[in-house]
């Protein structure tokens, strides 16, 4: 397996993605057939565990382990949820998947649902993705006509219904418990864990929630085996990942690369280097909630690993050049989290609000001594005492900015 392995993007730009015949012609739904007629749910989970595939939404939890725990639950009803509620700023990989290969996603959803024993799957799609919801609706219709879903899939004993659920585009609804609340018709806010959704999830039943990109890896693993998959990419987290290259680079694009690629390679080889006349300042990895990378850390490898210095997050790489005003960045991050906090717990609700106020003052060059004293306190409480990870993420970029660009943030003050 070379570096050129394409799993998710193999059909992109090559076939007419809306056409199910074209997808089948390109080898589509073969994995489903293989699973239906040659494998059992238990052996399916075994393959995925061997592949060491981990969640591509950001947390990087082992997909196989999660699937196994849902599979082991004894319940007559189980649910599978495809998390397409993509709302991280600067991240649009899932949208690209639907645009370019909706049937790959569907095949992954069908196989994953059958593996865990769910006979109902939801695709929870961001409310702003109208066009993508329409594409999926058509794809589901075609797949049903072909007998890939519905009662008795391809005359086997398996059945599956897929429903598209359109959220209202709240960032927090990407968190799995909030997503479940949202589908149930409640306020989109996280629930306390345990119980984990794998035990008590949607409508109180065991539920598996996976990111759309994770799901797209499943057909390949079923078809080629977990051992093959485990050979791709980095030692710690094998497989490929969609990276979204954005900002002051030549080629703004989505690329599929093996995990373990360094940031420098991403920017210089695949992004075509810095755009003309721009000078690298820092890069943000993983959307608004991602860490800031300076020149010296560019050789860090991007992989899912608890000890990794740079978390991959959603895979968005934003390159920022010297012409950008750091105050604008601060304001953009803080106003995003101020708006998207669900308001449930105190540190996140009040802390993100106060950070936004401070960012506004910093922009006006009126940041006071008192503000400088409170910033570490707010960031600390966001990082350590919030209900769900949103609060933790809200502090990351701000923390790195204060850490690295303190002078730039305060400089404005002296000028005014």
């Amino acid at each position: 397996m070379g570096k050129e392995t394409k799993i998710i993007t193999k059909n992109w730009g090559k076939i007419n993605s809306q056409n199910i015949e074209a997808y089948i012609h390109a080898g589509g739904y073969e994995a489903l057939k293989k699973f239906l007629f040659e494998m059992t749910p238990v052996s399916g989970v075994e393959e995925i565990k061997i592949s060491r595939l981990c969640g591509r939404g950001g947390a990087g939890f082992s997909t196989g382990t999660k699937m196994e725990s849902v599979q082991k639950e004894k319940s007559s009803e189980k649910y599978f949820i495809c998390n397409l509620d993509e709302s991280e700023p600067g991240t649009y990989k899932d949208r690209m998947i639907v645009d370019n290969d909706p049937h790959l996603l569907l095949e992954g959803i069908i196989i994953s649902s059958l593996i865990v024993g769910a006979n109902k799957a939801f695709i929870c799609i961001n409310g702003n993705y109208r066009k993508q919801a329409h594409i999926l609706e058509l794809a589901i219709e075609r797949a049903r006509e072909k007998g890939f879903m519905g009662e008795g899939i391809l005359d086997s004993q398996y059945s599956l219904e897929i429903e598209i659920f359109s959220g209202a585009g709240a960032y927090i609804c990407g968190e799995e418990t909030a997503l479940i609340n949202s589908i149930e018709g409640h306020r989109g806010e996280p629930k306390a864990r345990p119980p984990f959704p794998t035990q008590i999830g949607l409508f109180g039943k065991p539920t598996l929630v996976n990111n759309a990109e994770t799901i797209c890896n499943i057909p390949w693993i079923i078809l080629n085996g977990g051992h093959e998959y485990a050979k791709i990419g980095s030692e710690k987290s094998p497989g490929t990942k969609l990276f979204i290259l954005d900002g002051a680079i030549k080629n703004v694009s989505v690329v599929e690369l093996p995990l373990g690629t360094s940031i420098r390679e991403l920017i210089e080889t695949h992004g075509g280097g810095m755009a003309k006349g721009k000078y690298f300042w820092f890069a943000q990895i993983g959307g608004s909630s991602g860490r800031l990378i300076l020149e010296k850390d560019l050789d860090e490898k991007l992989e899912y690993d608890r000890e990794a210095k740079i978390p991959v997050g959603s895979g968005a790489v934003l390159v920022v050049d010297r012409t950008v005003d750091i105050h604008e960045m601060l304001l953009s991050w803080t106003s995003f989290f101020r708006r998207e906090s669900c308001g449930k717990c105190v540190p996140c609700r009040e802390g993100t609000f106060r950070l936004w106020e401070i960012a506004k003052r910093a922009k006006d060059g009126k940041i006071s001594e008192r503000d400088l004293e409170t910033i570490p306190d707010i960031l600390w409480v966001l990082g350590n005492a919030t209900f769900c990870p949103l609060g933790k993420f809200a502090a990351v970029a701000f923390f790195d900015a204060i850490d690295n660009f303190r002078k730039e943030i305060l400089k404005e003050k002296n000028i005014n």
């Binding site: 308001g343 003052r361 600390w380 005492a385």
Partner: protein
């Protein structure tokens, strides 16, 4: 299993949370959003440390090999910052707040020794434009609801702990908006139109939801030498009064305090209950149908009208004991003692919030235990120095058993025994709902039904103080 807390081993069961174990063992952990049976974990005050990681004790179940620390630098730092953040969003008008000195936020802030309030910008840091923005923002977010005569709400003092949302038996309240704009309110911010059981008022830690009252008017009348102020009090509820003012531990002390506050006469409400029972028996005798519903719980009447309107006709149409007694005071008592009824002010001190929505005008005011506490504090009465007194003998009940009525089922039991009929009793909305559903499906039938909305009857009423101070 055994868990370690502060280097001591304690026995714990799987069902218990860390907070449960600590409370049982007498280890103090401050809480704000926690209530019995509700483990939201939203206020982040009850934090403890488990192997160096902060977690909320109220919604974390005990696990083997836990090593809990309840006091550390990090814990108190997080608590302080959280409280400071809450204060920054709180109006902080303590001096004029109805909950002053009975406020859990105030108390927590004192306990945690929060001294700095750094998060709100100082006026001198703001431009005129920013100040205007802040005012606009504030105006948008503050929702004041004074649309009924029992409960008043203002989101200005709310700390979004969600206790009211969780306690409300009919789920009237919820969060509106998102993030920093979150306010507790009704759907579409319509004026509150519920059964006014007052459990939300009882459980509100701050002044966000309070009794609607005319305290200034009452105080004026208490001090007016031309007016005769009469207090009605149910001695069975003495215990709930001591929740508000712990020094009031005996009936004599209570009556003495009422007199000290300015009431000329204090009557035992048990007399009103006797009239109530008499009138109810009369009505039952003249009614052949079954499933008659006793009417002394005003919340129940509203509940039936709202959720089971087909049973409205089953309610025995008798005024509440307080109203009946007020009528008696203003007619027979006034006549006997040659007092102009217009000069008598009848105030009932009750554990009921719904009684504030009264029908008869003879009863001038209904105040809750909390409001009585406020009067005592406003008038600066030193209860320890008050001399004990007895209830006025002018109107006193013949039957001592009547006071059982405040406990659930008391009235029905008494009437049933006297008339030799069947009865059903229930308390708490959950049970009551089940009974009415069974009635609707004609699964049960009886002569009279006594149902009380508050859990445990009036003893668990919404008009009491709930503060763990």
């Amino acid at each position: 299993m055994k868990i370690r807390i502060d280097n001591n081993e304690y026995e714990a069961s799987e069902k218990e949370t860390i907070l449960d174990v600590c409370r049982r063992e007498g280890i103090k952990i401050p809480t704000l959003c926690h209530m019995k049976g509700v483990h939201e974990g939203v206020c982040r005050i009850c934090l403890v440390e488990n192997s160096g990681k902060l977690m909320t004790s109220c919604n974390t179940k005990a696990c083997p090999q836990m090593d809990i620390v309840t006091q550390s630098e990090n814990i108190s730092r997080a608590r302080k910052i959280n409280l400071e953040l809450l204060w920054a969003d709180h109006a902080g008008k303590c001096a004029t707040c109805k909950k002053n000195r009975r406020c859990e936020l105030q108390n927590l802030t004192m306990l945690q020794k929060v001294e700095n309030f750094r998060f709100v910008p100082k006026k001198e840091d703001l431009t005129q434009e920013e100040e205007l923005d802040l005012l606009k923002d504030n105006r948008m977010r503050v929702v004041v609801d004074e649309g009924n005569s029992a409960i008043s709400r203002t989101t200005e003092l709310c700390v979004e702990c969600r206790r009211c949302i969780n306690i409300c038996p009919t789920k009237e309240l919820s969060f509106n908006n998102r993030s920093g704009d979150v306010v507790v309110g009704t759907p579409y911010q319509k004026p509150l139109d519920c059964i006014f059981c007052g459990q939300c008022v009882k459980n509100c830690p701050t002044g966000g939801i309070t009794d609607k009252n005319d305290l200034d008017e009452i105080l004026e009348k208490l001090d007016d030498p031309k007016k005769m102020a009469v207090a009605l009090f149910d001695p069975a509820l003495l215990e709930s009064m001591s929740l508000e003012q712990p020094e009031i531990e005996s009936q004599r002390k209570l009556v003495g305090t009422l007199k000290a506050v300015g009431f000329e006469a204090v009557f035992d409400l048990a007399f009103g209950m006797e009239i109530f029972i008499e009138k109810t028996i009369e009505k039952i005798k003249g009614n052949q149908s079954n499933n008659l519903i006793l009417s002394h719980c005003p919340s129940l009447k509203l509940y039936i009208e709202k959720y089971f309107p087909e049973f409205s006709k089953n309610i025995i149409d008798v005024l509440t004991p307080d109203e009946l007694m007020a009528i008696f005071v203003k007619t027979e008592y006034a006549k006997k003692n040659k007092i102009n009824p217009k000069d008598i002010v009848v105030v009932s001190i009750s554990s009921c919030v719904a009684k504030k929505i009264k029908k008869d005008t003879s009863l001038d005011y209904v105040i809750t235990m909390r409001e009585f506490g406020r009067i005592i504090r406003k008038k600066n009465i030193k209860i320890s120095e008050v001399e004990g007194e007895e209830f006025s003998r002018d109107i006193s009940p013949k039957n001592k058993e009547v006071s059982k009525m405040t406990r659930c089922g008391g009235a029905a039991e008494m009437i049933a025994r006297e008339m030799g009929i069947e009865y059903i009793q229930a308390n708490g909305v959950k049970d009551i709902k089940n009974i009415f559903i069974s009635l609707r499906k004609k699964r049960i039938e009886t002569k009279i039904i006594e149902a009380m909305i508050c859990p445990g009857g009036c003893v668990g009423g919404g008009g009491q103080s709930n503060n763990i101070l």
